[in-house]
């Protein structure tokens, strides 16, 4: 009962969700205290738990373990009812600047239960969420239908769970190599995207070389999507303001097409579920990068480029253009800002896929979004970027 342990200096992602003063009122030192719950206060702006620890000499030392606001916890569906007075627990959290205080990360009960309201992946409620994420990841990787994600929560929390999901998937799908977006206000929206846009990770295991042949059975609800991507050239993009400054943080256009695979239980699909499931990103195809320069002339080229998808017989399936409806630099800015708000900085070499540019073909029969694509090639060509011909990326279909 006398343990006070300085564990380490690490930080669970709780502070981003915390009352602002919390950041300043607590250090980054993680400590643990054994004790008995003496009092629980469920209130604003901070709920708190009083824990009595007994030191080696038998003296009682009280610890005030603070957590989020009552209203924030209630919105997550969390109460402190599980924290009954008299329970023996170990509280772990960030050491406070005020003596004998901490900011709660988790409370572990003698029977092994864990309560951690700010880190859903390890909470009692979150333990179920963690299992749900694990199940979603396994279902996705193994081409099984994913259950949706019927939890109400702020978008920020859904993105944190997307982080958790990606952590689960990384052993199977590799390292983060970039990000993708969709549904922003310059381009097409979608009912299960947040209204101002969505983003997801691209992992190395999702990448396919130009011309790779896929089989129909490599996805369940997959579709062929014409996209457009940039490659990050340097970190100046993180602070860029003007379009030209943004462009100077990019070093290439990467011809990009993908096969997302949104195989959700249709009755349970939600906006949060789409975020958490990483937009069901399955396969991403990249062509030969086209080097760009941060000049008005290049901005003009990008904004005015046209494109088309062709089949193996060079027949044009569909054509399109950016002008009038799609603003690439606006989407780059949105994605950059969204990542920054999530505490993520772009790094050189990362891909930024700007999402669907208006040409989609279903791979499978019976899709409500259209008939199955019957050709054996989905070749995306961009015109106006290079002087010596189109930039291309090709997905072949091995039937």
């Amino acid at each position: 009962m006398n343990r006070l342990l300085i564990i380490a200096v690490y930080l669970l992602p709780i502070l981003a969700d915390a009352h602002h003063s919390t950041v300043a009122n607590f250090t980054r030192d993680v400590i643990a205290v054994d004790g008995v719950i003496e009092k629980v206060r469920f209130q604003n702006p901070h709920a708190s738990i009083l824990i009595r620890n007994t030191d080696d000499s038998g003296k009682d030392i009280y610890w005030l373990v603070e957590t989020g606001a009552k209203t924030t916890l209630e919105r997550k569906g969390i109460t402190l009812d599980v924290l009954t007075v008299g329970s023996k627990v170990t509280a772990t959290g960030l050491k406070g600047r005020r003596a004998n205080t901490m900011y709660l990360q988790e409370i572990r009960f003698e029977d092994g239960r864990v309560f951690a309201p700010d880190a859903p992946s390890v909470t009692i409620r979150g333990k179920e969420i963690r299992e749900e994420l694990q199940q979603m990841a396994e279902d996705f990787v193994n081409l099984r239908m994913m259950q949706g994600f019927l939890h109400e929560m702020p978008l920020e929390e859904a993105y944190r769970l997307q982080d958790d999901m990606v952590e689960i998937m990384r052993p199977m799908l590799g390292e983060v190599v970039g990000y993708k977006t969709g549904g922003h206000d310059s381009g097409p929206g979608f009912p299960t995207f947040p209204p101002d846009g969505i983003r997801a990770y691209i992992l190395s295991g999702m990448l396919r070389e130009d011309g790779t042949a896929i089989r129909v059975q490599d996805s369940v609800k997959g579709f062929l999507e014409a996209d457009f991507a940039f490659r990050v050239g340097n970190t100046s993009i993180n602070d860029a303001e003007t379009d030209l400054e943004l462009l100077s943080g990019l070093d290439a256009i990467v011809p990009f097409a993908e096969v997302p695979d949104p195989y959700y239980d249709p009755d349970t699909r939600t906006v949060n579920g789409t975020i958490v499931a990483n937009m069901s990103t399955r396969m991403s195809f990249t062509g030969e990068p086209v080097a760009i320069e941060a000049t008005p002339e290049w901005l003009e080229r990008i904004n005015n480029m046209t494109f088309a998808v062709l089949d193996e017989n060079d027949q044009v399936i569909q054509e399109g253009q950016f002008k009038g409806w799609y603003e690439p630099m606006k989407v780059v800015r949105w994605l950059r800002d969204q990542l920054r708000e999530s505490g993520k900085e772009l790094k050189p070499g990362q891909l930024l896929s700007l999402g669907n540019i208006g040409i989609i073909r279903q791979i499978h029969e019976g899709s409500p979004r259209g008939p199955a694509y019957e050709s054996n090639q989905f070749r995306l060509e961009y015109y106006g970027l290079k002087d010596d011909g189109p930039a291309t990326v090709t997905i072949n279909i091995d039937r």
Partner: protein, 253 residues
């Protein structure tokens, strides 16, 4: 040293003898004036209706403080001086910057009412030019306690933006985590506009006694889709009872 512990009601020490009955009379006249001078092009003004919540963190622009500001900052003790400990807003920016709390707007012909879930604040901003500014604070909580650290405001529409200008701040803290101060000389201009489903706010603080250049803060808010504004019912931090538990006893002194 500890400040006296207060309840919400104790916040009334800040209050003034403001007469609610004055509001409609002043504002109706000002609305007429505002309309006549064309301050509110009805077709362009932003529709801020609904309930919003901070999306991401507030972004600070460059902060260059004067020696006076640095001295005030040095005196600031976060653990004792943060007005939030006493359920009191430290500044307008402090209230905007709080995550996970709802914010609602009610726009009418002659005023904008901003309701903040945080501390149950209600900020009534008259529309018009500087002549409509009240000689009282613009913000009180639902119990009727006035808060002068959020100053006295007036507003107008400029194209697709609502522009709120605030004067007469009581000394407080623009950023409580770092002790960035404000004084009675501080002027705040808030510009609010809608971009898609996002409410953007740019707040610019000027005060030549504190800042070498305007201090700019940017915020974004997303619609929550909620319709209810629950009461926050803030409770003072009050660490005294806790610190007394660990205070040395006669036996341990």
């Amino acid at each position: 040293m500890h400040r006296p512990r207060t309840t919400i009601a104790a916040g009334r020490r800040i209050g003034s003898h403001y007469n609610d009955a004055m509001t409609p009379r002043i504002l109706s006249g000002l609305f007429l004036a505002a309309t006549l001078i064309g301050l509110r092009p009805a077709c362009a003004q932003p529709d801020l209706s609904g309930i919003w919540m901070l999306h991401g963190l507030a972004k600070e622009g460059e902060l260059v403080m004067t020696d006076k500001a640095l001295a005030l900052q040095a005196e600031y003790d976060l653990l004792e001086d943060d007005p939030s400990l006493f359920c009191e807003p430290a500044s307008i920016s402090r209230v905007w910057a709080n995550p996970n709390v709802r914010i609602a707007f009610e726009q009418s012909a002659d005023q904008v009412l901003i309701s903040y879930e945080f501390f149950d604040l209600r900020r009534l901003v008259p529309l018009g030019d500087a002549s409509v500014i009240a000689d009282t604070p613009s913000t009180k909580n639902v119990e009727g306690t006035w808060f002068d650290k959020m100053g006295s405001s007036f507003a107008h529409y400029a194209g697709d933006r609502l522009v709120i200008e605030t004067h007469a701040h009581a000394p407080g803290y623009i950023r409580t985590s770092s002790g960035v101060p404000q004084t009675g000389n501080t002027v705040s201009v808030e510009e609010l506009w809608i971009e898609g489903e996002t409410l953007k706010l740019r707040q610019t603080y000027t005060d030549d006694t504190l800042f070498e250049k305007p201090f700019v803060l940017d915020y974004a808010f997303r619609r929550t889709g909620e319709t209810e504004m629950p009461l926050y019912e803030c409770t003072d931090a009050d660490y005294d009872w806790f610190e007394e538990l660990n205070a040395p006893t006669d036996e341990t002194r």
